[in-house]
Symmetry: D2
Subunit: 340 residues, 4 copies
């Protein structure tokens, strides 16, 4: 099939490569002409303007939008003004699913189809394939099936699940039509929310391992420091890089995130190149908002999210209030951060 | 009654003052002779050594130990070597209740009684009275009743609870025999665990209020910062000091801790004298350990405890692992702490 | 001053009583005529329809709306259609502050003032006074000052905060103009969020106390039950009702919520009349949403909220997934709920 | 090598099979004679008593203990009485690492070596291999290397980590000498703590997905139920079984636990065979205790643990207290659990 790609950052460019490697043809466009020119190959056609882009696509057109979240809305509306009845826009970025709901509704009277596609795979997706979570109308998604199948990792990328038989279903190839507009990004949002929780679970556990030597360290002796009751129980120097490696094989907690952690630690077990300021990127927040709206508990995912806020310094005023309270009721003078 | 007090820090000295103001007599001792000399008054007798201290007490002796947690064990065993059958040691500090269990068991064969007494009241206790949570043998606690009653705040310090009638019970005076050895410090431990949760609830809420202006601030625009979807909803400059004051009257969340918070903020609403390093002091940890041993959920108290650990910088390695993972799977470069 | 009150439930009726006891006059209306007729007193004038209600108020009219959250929007718009330039609507219920922002904006072109007033005090407010958190335009709030002052508890209801001098400020009377439209309900929302955290801290702590006897109970001995390592450390029968009473005097955690807890337990320490289904009422959710939007950690308040969702059975599917996972990897057969 | 195995449950029997398949010989014993007789094969020698077991092993003997946690201590001391200088006991079960520390210290004067070996792999280990986390003395562990290497999954079971070169290290085979006595079970404990967090992250996320239809359900309309503000945003019926399947390929959250979840849901997406009572098995508790002792935050792992306690009904008294408080301050009648 022919597909137009707008946005040739790492993700967009790799999708084009994966599609053309699989026999599809692509028209590509980016506001940055250098990105367009850098992406060459058989079956890749360059466009030098949005008009040129539209002109080079055959009807019914299929346009995949892969631009930063902040400009997706504008890109979709600019595109919509140029597209025709039965054309399709696929938003493959990390949009909030509520924006998808609005966009699909806005485009519907114009006969333009809107498909939201949550895309997971990160920097390894070109080789490994991307996991796709898709929302939109049934007929439109069916028509795009060859596209999605080519992007997805394919059945062979994991052993078949016990209990599944016969012709592999789409989800076994690594793509899934999750429901109407927004459903794809809803599922992707939850995917990322889970990712926050998984990451935090590993990080916490490794931090506890790292501190298994606390009984060997001389601790400050003052009224503001709780003494360790059994120092002899905490006298281990654990090699965190080796531990993450050993867990990769045969353990219950093996995972792709663990593979990445082992890789990060292989060369740099102290991670001193990092300051520990952990950004968050929307989906963790939205997952928590959804849990609250639905009235469903999410203590782990929200704790992971709040841990990131703390790493960003956002607990500071709360912490100063706690120190102020302690001074009031107990006359405790605060240990300065540098004392610790 | 006559009581011997070992340890004349703020708490010990104030207890002596409160007792002698209420008609009791005290023999006082501290390793720091200056502390002994500073505490004068009718019915206060100085001791210049532990032997002198013991000699000045009439049998059966009653000794209240009010020394730093780290030296309580040694003080109790030194005392025990000098005391006689039917004498009593009261540990009024913040001991771990398991130490009480051991000490009571060790002293029993010598006929020495051991009483643990959790004492709450902080720097305001001299005037306000101290809330006492007591563990030990029935007969011994009964005998000490006049001591405890004098230290406690008294019935008049709070309106009577609906449903309580007749002669006020001990707990309505502000002291309670909670059970056998260790029970007093067990209840005090939980008291402090609750305190951690209460403090954190106020601090979190006030922090959210403080950030109600987030829609007015210009936010960094980059791929690592989640945009605020509805900035118009967060354009309030809330005066936190005034809010804590208004909640003191008539609201559901009025409390003594809120009174203290309002006092702290009255003179310094930004609290810039504090760095936000919040110490923890044993009981919050022990409460969490007890919850885990008992198999009882304590998400709020443990979250409060872990928030203090984070303020102490103890999440740093975990945060660096998260940044390392994000770089691995998404190619995200970490924002430096100084960028935020 | 004259004030019209719409909504004569417990809160509305008590506000009218408190206002007329303090020299104000009220016109009262409710869709339930019986509620109108039940509320009698000097300076209380009945209305039998909305038109009648409007007609009986002198201009510029002041109308306090105290109806269930679900009908506030309709009540405000019905009222707006009948009011005139410079009239004021006060929403004293538990509205979401974003609704206030919209309502104030909608009414502005009509010259009608909108004031949001978060009202805390519960069933005790008639006697104790209500804590008021107010949002709206400066001039309008100033004009209504006598109303707010009469409803608030008054300076005498709490000892003055150290550091405050001179003529007591409004917040020391128990009411505060927090900012423009919505600010009152924003502060009330956070107030209730804090309340969730405080309540949960007490409940958790008391639950741990309740289980201090776990070492005395015979525990199931099976592969699915973790043995208690030190049963001798958990052999206390703590009287929870007495503990909550003793903490009311002199302790750091004394509070109004603790007073209420002691009252609830005084007559019924096992609380077997309750099933443990804990409802939540909007503000706890909204506080969590605000924290997430602002990027501020709220682990304690959210844990309290999620605990309520769990009590409502909303973790059930998640728990079944956990049991299914355990069966998969470890062959663990689930203990039935009735086995525990 | 020759190895003696005591305890022929699923794990013990599978270890023997895996060892003898790899050229080792085993002497096997179990208190249950049927278990002994059921385990046949070349290189498997039966023992009918502990004495017989010891007699059939060549010196220096190597005994692997794989019995339920509750009887490990007794088994080790019974064995020790029969063993000789330079013999080795390996505890391959889920012991608490502090017990290992004590056992190693107790055996040392007798010249008996003690090795603790955390073993992960569950019911799939026979085929997949077991991940081994080992504690003990250097020379002893070195001597046992062929045993551990045969049990571990082997290098080929996962792609090599980028940055690792040359001869694969032990950890790349799937076994690791973590440190002195107890270090193996310490690392296994943290492994399981992480597992709790991972499992909870998936379960929470899937629960939020499951409730994505909340806007389609008619909700109770009463004062005790928070209305859903935007029901149109929650109208998805998500097929949870398909979602877990699609995430297995190419997504950031693919893992072995996800594979198992997909398998569990493949046949039974509602999981109605489960009641949602989730047992916990020691390591999650111990991980939390270690975090608290070390002063390291563990909000995610502890939240996962506390969620299990809640599923076991252990929040009930806390929840009844919350209902009692709400009745006190707001006059709220509790919704019965059956109403929800």
């Amino acid at each position: 099939m022919q597909l137009g790609m707008i946005g040739l950052g790492r993700m967009g460019a790799n999708l084009v490569r994966r599609l053309t490697n699989n026999g599809h043809s692509c028209v590509v466009y980016d506001v940055n002409a250098a990105a367009v020119n850098a992406l060459t190959g058989q079956d890749i056609q360059h466009a030098d303007s949005l008009d040129d882009f539209i002109a080079k696509l055959s009807r019914p057109r299929v346009v995949w939008v892969m631009v930063p979240a902040g400009v997706t809305g504008k890109t979709v509306s600019d595109l919509a003004a140029l597209l025709s009845v039965d054309d399709t826009i696929i938003d493959g970025g990390n949009s909030y699913y509520r924006d998808d709901q609005v966009r699909a509704k806005t485009l519907k009277p114009h006969g333009i189809h809107y498909v939201d596609c949550g895309t997971s795979g990160g920097v390894f997706g070109l080789e490994r394939g991307y996991c796709l979570m898709i929302g939109g109308e049934d007929g439109v998604i069916d028509r795009l099936d060859p596209i999605f199948r080519s992007i997805a990792p394919g059945v062979a990328s994991a052993p078949r699940t016990a209990g599944r038989e016969g012709e592999p279903a789409a989800e076994e190839h690594g793509y899934l039509h999750c429901g109407p507009a927004g459903a794809g990004h809803f599922v992707k949002m939850i995917h990322n929310g889970i990712e926050y929780g998984l990451m935090a679970a590993y990080a916490e556990g490794l931090n506890i391992l790292k501190h298994a030597d606390v009984g060997l360290r001389s601790r400050t002796q003052d009224a503001e420091t709780t003494p360790l009751r059994e120092p002899e129980a905490y006298q281990y120097h654990i090699d965190i890089a080796k531990v993450t490696e050993v867990w990769r094989r045969g353990s219950v907690i093996s995972s792709w995130l663990l593979d990445l952690t082992a890789a990060a630690l292989a060369g740099d077990s102290e991670l001193e190149q990092f300051s520990g300021h952990v950004s968050d990127s929307g989906e963790g927040r939205w997952t928590t908002l959804a849990a609250v709206d639905e009235g469903v508990p999410a203590p782990v995912i929200s704790a992971a999210l709040f841990g990131r806020f703390e790493s960003q310094g956002e607990a500071d005023y709360a912490d100063r209030i706690l120190s102020a309270m302690r001074k009031q009721f107990g006359g405790h003078d605060e240990k300065q951060k540098s004392d610790s």
